[in-house]
C-alpha cells in the first residue's frame, strides 16, 4: 500500500494562542515537505499533530503507512550503553538488519558508550538509527539538523532523499535550509492566525 499523509484545514492552539489555521497538506509517495518558519511559530506542534500525538484545535488528519518521529527527545535510556538502548526499539520493531543503520550513521564505535555521554550530534545520529531500524513509511523530523556538523547534515539530507526515492514521505521541520530534491516548502507564517 502506498504511503499517504493528508491534513485538511488544520488549526493549532497552544494555551490561549492560536498558532496557525487553515493549513492543508497533501503528501503522496516520494514527497518531501520542508516546514519552515522562525522559532515559536508552531513547527513542532504541526509535526506532533501530524504524528497524532497532539489533537488539532480544528481540522483532520488522514494517514496511510507507519509513522516515525525524530524530535528533540531521544527516547533512549540515558544510563544504558547505546547498543542496549537501541536493542529495545529493534526488538519492538522487529528489525531484520540493524547493522545497516549503524553502518550508514557510523555508530559502531559508540555502541558501548552510555547514551548520556554522547554529544548532541551523536545523539541525533542515534535517533536516526532508531528511525531507520523501524523502517516507517512516513518520516516526521523535527529539527533533524540541530547539533550536526556539516558532513553529518549532508548524510541526513542523503538519507531523506533515499527514503523519498523509495516511495516514502518526509515532513521536515527546520529553521535551517535543507537541500532536498523535489521538496515543496510550507511556510507556516502564511497560515499564522
Amino acid at each position: 500500500m502506498q504511503a499517504n499523509l493528508a491534513a485538511n484545514d488544520l488549526a493549532c492552539r497552544r494555551g490561549d494562542r492560536l498558532l496557525f489555521r487553515g493549513l492543508s497538506l497533501q503528501c503522496g509517495a516520494g514527497d518531501a515537505v520542508h516546514v519552515a518558519g522562525p522559532n515559536g511559530i508552531g513547527k513542532s506542534s504541526l509535526i506532533r499533530i501530524l504524528a497524532g500525538l497532539l489533537r488539532p484545535f480544528a481540522g483532520e488528519i488522514a494517514r496511510t503507512g507507519s509513522v516515525g518521529l525524530i524530535d528533540e527527545r531521544l527516547a533512549l535510556d540515558p544510563n544504558q550503553p547505546l547498543g542496549k538502548a537501541l536493542d529495545f526499539w529493534e526488538r519492538l520493531d522487529g528489525c531484520g538488519d540493524p547493522g545497516r543503520a549503524l553502518e550508514i550513521l557510523q555508530l559502531h564505535a559508540l555502541m558501548d558508550i552510555p547514551v548520556r555521554y554522547l554529544s548532541t550530534g551523536q545523539k541525533k545520529r542515534a535517533a536516526f538509527a532508531r528511525l531507520l531500524n523501524g523502517a516507517p513509511r512516513i518520516w516526521l523530523l523535527d529539527e533533524p539538523l540541530n547539533g550536526l556538523d556539516a558532513q553529518a547534515a549532508r548524510s541526513v539530507e542523503a538519507l531523506v532523499a533515499q527514503h523519498c526515492d523509495a516511495g516514502g514521505i518526509a515532513v521536515v521541520a527546520s529553521h535551517q535550509p535543507m537541500a532536498l530534491p523535489g521538496t515543496h516548502t510550507l511556510a507556516i507564517e502564511d497560515y499564522a492566525a
Binding site: R48, A51, G52, L53, L54, R55, S66, V67, G68, L69, D71, R73, L74, A75, L76, D77, P78, N79, Q80, K84, F88, W89, R91, L92, D93, R130, G134, P136
Partner: protein
C-alpha cells in the same frame, strides 16, 4: 504478546535493584532502617514491640513504596518513550500495565524477604509475622497500583516527586486499614478485603495512568 514481553524486559532492567537503570536498593534499606530505629525510639519493652511491631512494618512498607515513584514514569515521559511507543501502536494503557507488573516485581518480593529480619528485630511472634507477610502480599499490588497512577499524574509537574508522596498516603489508607487491621483480629476477612482492594486498584491504575500520560502531551 511479544510486545508486552519486550516492554517488561526493559522495565525490569530499569527498575530491579542492581539493574542497569540504577534501580537502587535504597527503599529496602530505608524499610529495614525504620524497623531498626523503632526499638530505639520506644525502648526495649519486648511486649510493646511485639504488639505494635506489625503496624510499624506496615508503615515502613508504605513509606518504602513511595521512594521509587520519582523514577517510575517521569524519566520516560521526558525522554519521549511513550510518544515513540504510541507511534508504534503500543497503547499507554499497555505500557502502564506492564510497568505496574515490573514495579511490583522490583520492590515487593524483596520487601517481603526483608520483612523477616525486620520481624526478628522487633521480636514478632511467628504467627504475627505470618499475618504481616500475608497482608503485605495482599496489599503491595495495591500500593504499587496507587503509586503508578500517582507517579503518572505528577510526572509532568515541577516538584512532582514530593507531591506524589503526599498523594499516595491517603489513597493507601484502605489497604493499610484492612491489611494491618488483620493483625488485631484473628479472622482472615481483613486480608481478603485488602486483597480485593488491591485487585480493584490494579485494574483501574493502568487506565488512569495511561490517561494521565496522554493528558501530559496536551499541556
Amino acid at each position: 504478546m511479544s510486545t508486552a514481553a519486550t516492554l517488561l524486559r526493559r522495565d525490569l532492567a530499569l527498575l530491579v535493584p542492581g539493574g542497569r537503570g540504577g534501580g537502587g536498593v535504597l527503599p529496602l534499606l530505608f524499610f529495614l532502617a525504620v524497623a531498626m530505629l523503632y526499638p530505639f525510639a520506644v525502648g526495649p519493652d519486648a511486649q510493646l514491640l511485639a504488639r505494635t511491631g506489625g503496624g510499624v512494618i506496615w508503615i515502613a512498607a508504605l513509606l518504602a513504596a513511595i521512594l521509587p515513584l520519582e523514577k517510575l514514569v517521569a524519566g520516560d515521559l521526558d525522554a519521549g518513550v511513550f510518544d515513540q511507543l504510541s507511534l508504534r501502536g503500543v497503547s499507554e494503557e499497555l505500557a502502564m500495565a506492564v510497568r505496574l507488573v515490573a514495579h511490583w516485581l522490583a520492590f515487593a518480593p524483596l520487601l517481603l524477604l526483608a520483612t523477616l529480619p525486620a520481624a526478628a528485630l522487633l521480636g514478632l511472634s511467628a504467627e504475627t509475622t505470618r499475618t504481616v507477610l500475608l497482608g503485605l502480599l495482599a496489599g503491595t499490588p495495591g500500593l504499587a497500583a496507587v503509586g503508578l497512577a500517582v507517579a503518572a499524574l505528577t510526572a509532568s509537574l515541577r516538584g512532582g516527586a514530593a507531591l506524589s508522596g503526599l498523594m499516595v498516603i491517603p489513597l493507601a489508607v484502605p489497604i493499610l486499614i484492612f491489611g494491618a487491621g488483620a493483625l488485631a483480629r484473628p479472622d482472615p476477612g481483613g486480608l481478603m478485603l485488602a486483597a480485593a482492594i488491591s485487585l480493584g486498584l490494579c485494574a483501574v491504575s493502568p487506565i488512569a495512568a495511561g490517561a494521565a500520560i496522554r493528558a501530559a502531551r496536551e499541556s
